[in-house]
Symmetry: C2
């Protein structure tokens, strides 16, 4: 029998379909899995020889799942703000990416983002970027669960020059990681406005053949709809339906633009939805109708998007914004309650990524992907309802401890797998290079 | 000559009408005032004998002004969430207040809120509640700048039974504090739907006579408009115009409901506007049209509202939500830039409260109301534009030091004027009492 670790919590929130709050309960971890959940007193009696750790002022809950991000964009945080999506992409982000991205850049920048995500209670992220091996290597060092998108975009980047090269490199990555426990490849055509029908169809065939999820930015902003109507006389969703692309395996990211004819398509194919409220609001893209999508049976998860458009990878903040925005949009303060919001960031993320048998809730038999949040601070007192305190009041620095598959990645706010000072130093070194070129451009 | 303290900052953001960012500058403080702002090197040469403090990774900026709050509601944080405004008020908040508020409650609860505000970089707050002396006493202990509203509401509370008693107690408070440097009385009729015309007119007369600001919740939510149309056949703003209530001395809080006929009135009387985006979104009240109000020449400040409807007193979070919401509402990502947003929380607050000659910016001759924010954390690196990092990425725990009138209230995250452990213990003691009664009610 291998070592047993027992985490005792003041409050334990399971985030199962019903968000149970258990008081003074213990989580028993063995072989990286949740072996039992029982009252603290019983756990002490039953496992006297185990390693007992006390979280007397804490909530224990499942690690959060960041269901959409571009981790390597962390180095572009705050580079360009207060701009429209296409201006921001065409004139700032894409030129910066063309200039800077490389294997080294992606390794350093994604590592930087992972340090942030661990410190922010994220145990799994769903990424879309370039130089996939660099991100995967960093994720293995960090110890995070990572779904890494085989990005395809119909223009050359420093990562690949042609559709064939994107696919070839993507498939090589898929082969390399197909048996990895924590790292999974996904397909990731960037968006309907950047990938042609022929390539989308090829990607859909690959998805069916290899049983992979397909991530795609979809109906993110009004511009995209206008462009699609002009070019195809169809909305992006209609176009994807027409070419047979849609299914429950598609992860539709953003979906802020939904009109009557879209609802029929969504109801029929039930794609996974990833809501990125802070990015959508900051870029004035619109707001995803989360509660209405849920009411027709769709699964909605939550993502931060990249730190260049957010500007952080803070899922607590993202939850708060999601709850606020849902109430604002529906003009109904009961919409997306704290309990429902917490699920977007946990179990619903696992469902979207197809790993809800493995993670997303504190459930016996699932992986021990767990975080501890200290509520013993003025800002989260008094505690009437711990779920309310997490969604509406807690801040990221109250996340004290993080485990993935039973391995501790953050302990009392200290990163255990990554070197914080080295990561900060590298970020500054890159920043100096990036800022120097930007200054030249605007001079 | 009294002692000189010199704060050296990596970045110094003045928040004057133009948001200047000065690099490697020093703030010279003497007698509680800003005596000079000059390059760090020059400050070292000119004042070799002064006390020099280094903030090498920090922004120094003016303390934030929380232009609308009910500080004592901190003890009701998370008591009832995800409810409509009138349900929340009628069935949760007003009954809890009727049961609990007293001199002791307000002293302890407002002290608790002040501890939170200092930790969150607030140096001045504009309060509306009951038992004014208790709040003032706590503010004097805390060392905060406090504008305290002489609340009037047309129903009895544990604080006063009648309009006459509200006014009498309010005026006694005004007399007691009229020469205090940091504590100021304001008038505070709760809202048009809770105070009758006769009382509003009396309050307006008092305001003119004593030169006081008048705080009032105004056009906060659709319900209020419907009710006013039914009872008066007028919108609240029209009604206030008709009784001669409006002027630049009125602080109109919320103003989420603005239609064509309101714009004419607003343009004519130019009341101060306080925007509380998180409370408005959480209660699904609507969204204040900040940029349009600014475009017709109105001053807009920022407030958290009480922690029962927010659920924190975090002005960094409030700024972020204000920027996001403005972009979302106007469908324009350039609306309310980071620089403009920062001003809502600083100089515009001082203008709204009528103290912009004293505070609200780092300006020679103004009070040394200053905060330091440490950007040397992964979440706020790299720094291309410090204003962006503050508005879009920094979190409250990065606020390390706070001064009011040159007196330090927070030093490296430690409260200097308040006892954090005692404040936490009191919050828990009150919570036990409050929760016990709530449980009985729902049983």
């Amino acid at each position: 029998m291998t070592d047993i670790t027992i985490l005792h919590a003041r409050w334990l929130i399971t985030c199962e379909d019903r968000n149970q709050v258990l008081e003074n309960h213990a989580l028993v971890i063995q072989n990286g899995l949740i072996q039992a959940i029982l009252p603290s007193d019983a756990a002490k009696q039953k496992f006297p020889a185990a390693k007992h750790e006390l979280y007397n002022h804490h909530v224990l809950m499942p690690g959060m799942i960041n269901s959409h991000t571009h981790s390597s964009m962390g180095y572009f945080r705050g580079l360009a703000d207060d701009l429209a999506l296409m201006d921001w992409l065409n004139n700032y982000i894409w030129p910066a990416e063309k200039k800077w991205i490389s294997n080294d850049f992606v390794y350093d920048a994604s590592m930087f983002a992972m340090a942030e995500m661990i410190r922010n209670g994220v145990t799994c992220f769903n990424d879309m970027y370039f130089f996939l091996e660099a991100t995967a290597k960093a994720a293995q060092t960090a110890g995070l669960r990572a779904h890494i998108g085989m990005t395809v975009i119909d223009f050359p980047t420093p990562w690949a020059k042609s559709f064939e090269e994107y696919i070839e490199k993507g498939l090589a990555f898929y082969e390399q990681y197909k048996n990895n426990a924590l790292i999974k490849a996904t397909l990731a055509p960037h968006a309907p406005y950047t990938v042609c029908d022929e390539h989308l169809i090829r990607i859909k065939e690959l998805a069916d053949q290899l049983h992979l999820k397909i991530n795609i930015h979809l109906q993110e902003a009004p511009d995209e709809i206008t462009k699609s109507m002009a070019e195809f006389n169809m909305r992006p969703l209609q176009r994807l339906q027409k070419i047979g692309f849609l299914s429950e395996n598609v992860i539709a990211i953003h979906m802020t633009q939904v009109i009557e004819e879209d609802w029929q398509i969504l109801k029929k194919y039930k794609p996974q939805i990833v809501h990125c409220p802070q990015s959508n609001m900051k870029l004035a893209s619109g707001g995803c109708p989360v509660t209405k999508l849920q009411s027709i049976g769709l699964n909605v998860a939550l993502g931060t998007d990249g730190a260049a458009s957010n500007n952080d990878l803070n899922m607590l903040g993202e939850m708060r914004t999601a709850a606020f925005l849902a109430k604002h949009i529906t003009q109904d303060p009961t919409a997306l309650s704290a309990e429902e919001t917490l699920k977007l960031a946990t179990l619903n993320g696992a469902k979207a990524l197809g790993i809800d048998k493995v993670t997303g809730s504190l459930t016996v038999g699932k992986s021990a992907d767990v975080i501890a949040i200290d509520l013993e601070q003025i800002e989260t007192q008094p505690v009437y309802h711990p779920v309310s305190q997490i969604v509406y009041a807690a801040s990221r620095q109250q996340i004290t401890d993080v485990w993935v598959a039973g391995k501790q990645l953050l302990k009392q706010r200290k990163l255990l797998t990554l070197d914080e000072q080295e990561i900060l130093a590298k970020a500054k070194a890159w920043q100096e290079k990036i800022a120097a070129v930007q200054l030249k451009q605007s001079a």
